[in-house]
Symmetry: C2
């Protein structure tokens, strides 16, 4: 058993060694890993069955939820195949590294290139689903980062065999076999959080409290995948059909997802026109409505009373700051677009918010004024997702505002470095530039390709 | 006197309000600020003279360094004019916000745009030079961020009047006058570091210990501008003239800058060929050489003994982990390029490192294998600088690896948000996509311009 420091050092060494390995070799490694997983499928699924049995005991004793148990299951349906397909999909995505995003000739024969490169060593902490180990390992390998992975303790047996298969796949490639490491305990996480010399980024995927507790205990930058408190605002000029469709989809398509809507704001001019129709559609879909005075009395004046009217009740102030994650929606009337923007900026989690409007001016003010990672017009908040955005895959959804914001694809796992090359006869020195001497050219290099 | 929380809340409110102000108005604000500074020049320079008098007392009592006192002086030379010119230069840079970096049609009439936008509220902590208040305020305003600025206490009188002029300039614009705020005390900084609800990024410009102490005491992301321990490596195939020029410039052009070189690594095959010439040039430039055995004995076998030979002495192990910031250079022979890369990755501060080589293969391995923000070939480490890179100006040099790395220009002060717009007849909902239903198009939108 290695200490946390040994693990972190090994990860840094593996990362540094991997910098001289060609990017194609990372793609090969992913294919070897698929083979190794397939070769060990029986043993891995047997270990998963053991994890499930142990979890069933916890569920029966009331110490674990049924939904957590379901997420542990790697035997179910096409989960295994789609896990492997996911690795191949990642392998086939474009390489996010080696991309030149800035290229200038500073002087004759002095060229500057800003080139995308991996961040380094990632500590990724995530929930129970064992296939996430494979998923995150694939993303890290593809982007050239060396990950240390901590899954949920409920899936330890499965995770250990998955990790062994990953290591044996890596062993066939030119990447170090310690390139991907897994850890099992919270104590190891705590120790690793102090090792900012070796670890470059922590990615916690879980609750707000997990993210905050990690932020409180480390100097290492944290890319948090925390909760989502999303809103829809029905503007004065909202179209009825769009309003109903967008609100119902945003709330009911998958209520436990972070991009589901938790709050509906209604312009007060719509309280007795569009709102009653939206409310009826929501009630018919079994959505509990926590309403402020105007929106509740509007429901109560619908005649005849709508289906499921008992699901509508008064909202407490906390209703507007709660991520319900179930068929519950907080509703509030607002006197203006400006008030809607203010409410969202002070109550939402800056994840994704949508306006339903026919007004270009209102749309423009909303998408600029709402300070969230996603600002949508006439579209469901459920579109906030890396696959839907076209990234091919998703590391998570960042609720932070540094480095990556919103759905994080492979691009979110890279940074850049500056490469400067002198091809001059005598090399290049700063002392030759300045007043009365050489001046910087700063000429754009068109269609720059890395000369190294 | 406002509390830290009031200051932070006011900054967040000012930031949010400013999101609906057009970018051109930020340029106007910078011009109004220039006018206000010019109108208050006499009073500001008088306050600066008071700060200098108080500082002189400290210097005389041995409690402050002469160099710190010099940096306080705003009366000296063209400092005032270049401060104002700097504001106008920033005003004239291209707007870093509103730039579309990803645009896809997800479906007919459903367009996704990734658009650069400000980060939010910045807490910037910096050293004594009072003009930095104006400099940072200009960068923040141009990029749409609301800054809270803490300068050195030695320049408090000057800073307060500069801040008043900035506020009166802002008052003439449509930006809130609380858009730029200044604070005076460390206690205020401590309180602000806990307010991650309002503050989005902390930018400490100073020592490693300042950066680390801030990282230890906040959940807010930190973009550190810390020390630089840069190296030059003379490869086996190094050209003599390039070696001498690059090493001497890297060390002596401005020894107290963070991009000056502190360590020289010499391939062992050069110890009795190129190294003695480089050593002679360094000694002639009054550089103290802290050498390992081979490089020191090589100097001692030069005949006749070089000028200033007494400046060469044995290195302690700490010599290779010290940022000397003066005319001192640690020197070590290494058996291979791989060892040079390993030494740099484990000893340098990942700021900027340079190789002198005639080999394309060695250059390629070095720029990829050295894990630093800048990896240079045949060029002085002193080129690592926002102005030289062509950014027009520089917020600082980030020694972190998240968000911005190396010299940080205006681009380093922005993030992005995703704007999604449905122009479909019925709006867009996720429930209509999936197996047997609509598929995502993910078609690139060529030359995308923001439709809002």
């Amino acid at each position: 058993m290695s200490t946390a420091e040994e693990i972190a050092k090994a990860a840094k060494a593996a990362f540094e060694d991997s910098q001289l390995v060609q990017a194609e070799e990372r793609v090969n490694a992913l294919k070897y890993i698929c083979d190794a997983l397939e070769a060990n499928k029986t043993a891995i699924l047997a270990a998963n069955t053991e994890d499930l049995k142990a979890a069933q005991v916890e569920v029966d004793a009331g110490r674990m939820s049924e939904s957590l148990l379901k997420r542990l299951d790697l035997n179910k349906g096409d989960k295994w195949d789609s896990m492997l397909q996911g690795v191949l999909d990642v392998a086939n995505l474009p390489d996010p590294t080696g991309i030149v995003s800035y290229a200038k000739e500073l002087d004759d024969g002095l060229e500057l290139y800003r080139v995308s490169c991996p961040i380094g060593v990632l500590l990724v902490i995530f929930e129970a689903r064992p296939e996430v180990v494979v998923n995150i390992a694939a993303l890290a390998i593809k982007s050239g980062n060396a990950p240390i992975l901590k899954g949920g303790k409920e899936s330890n047996a499965t995770t250990q065999l998955l990790a062994q298969a990953i290591a044996s796949g890596l062993a066939q490639s030119s990447l170090p076999s310690t390139y991907v490491q897994t850890i099992q305990t919270r104590a190891e996480v705590s120790s690793l959080l102090s090792l900012d010399k070796y670890i470059d980024l922590v990615i916690p995927r879980g609750s707000n409290s997990l993210v905050r507790s990690i932020q409180n205990n480390t100097r290492i930058p944290v890319m948090g995948h925390a909760d989502g408190l999303c809103s829809v605002y029905l503007d004065e000029s909202a179209d009825l059909e769009k309003a109903v469709r967008v609100v119902v989809d945003s709330k009911t398509d998958y209520p436990s997802a972070c991009n589901s809507t938790e709050t509906l704001l209604v312009h007060e001019s719509l309280v007795s026109t569009i709102w009653p129709k939206v409310a009826q559609a929501l009630l018919a879909a079994n959505v509990r409505l926590l309403c402020d005075g105007p929106t509740l009395s509007s429901i109560h004046s619908i005649s005849p009373p709508p289906q499921n009217i008992s699901l509508a009740s008064p909202a407490s102030p906390e209703a507007y700051t709660t991520e319900h994650l179930t068929l519950v929606l907080a509703v509030r009337a607002v006197p203006s677009l400006a008030d809607a923007i203010k409410h969202i900026n002070s109550h939402s989690s800056h994840h994704t918010d949508s306006i339903v409007t026919e007004s270009q001016a209102a749309a423009s003010a909303f998408v600029r004024g709402v300070d969230s990672a996603g600002t949508f017009v006439n579209a469901s908040t459920r579109f906030a997702d890396g696959f839907r955005y076209g990234f091919g895959t998703e590391v998570g959804i960042s609720t932070g505002r540094i480095h990556s914001r919103g759905p994080v694809g492979l691009e979110g796992l890279v940074i850049y470095k500056y490469m400067l090359r002198s091809t001059g006869d005598k090399g290049h020195i700063v002392g030759e530039f300045g007043a009365g001497k050489k001046q910087y050219k700063h000429a754009q290099i068109a269609n720059a390709r890395l000369p190294f």
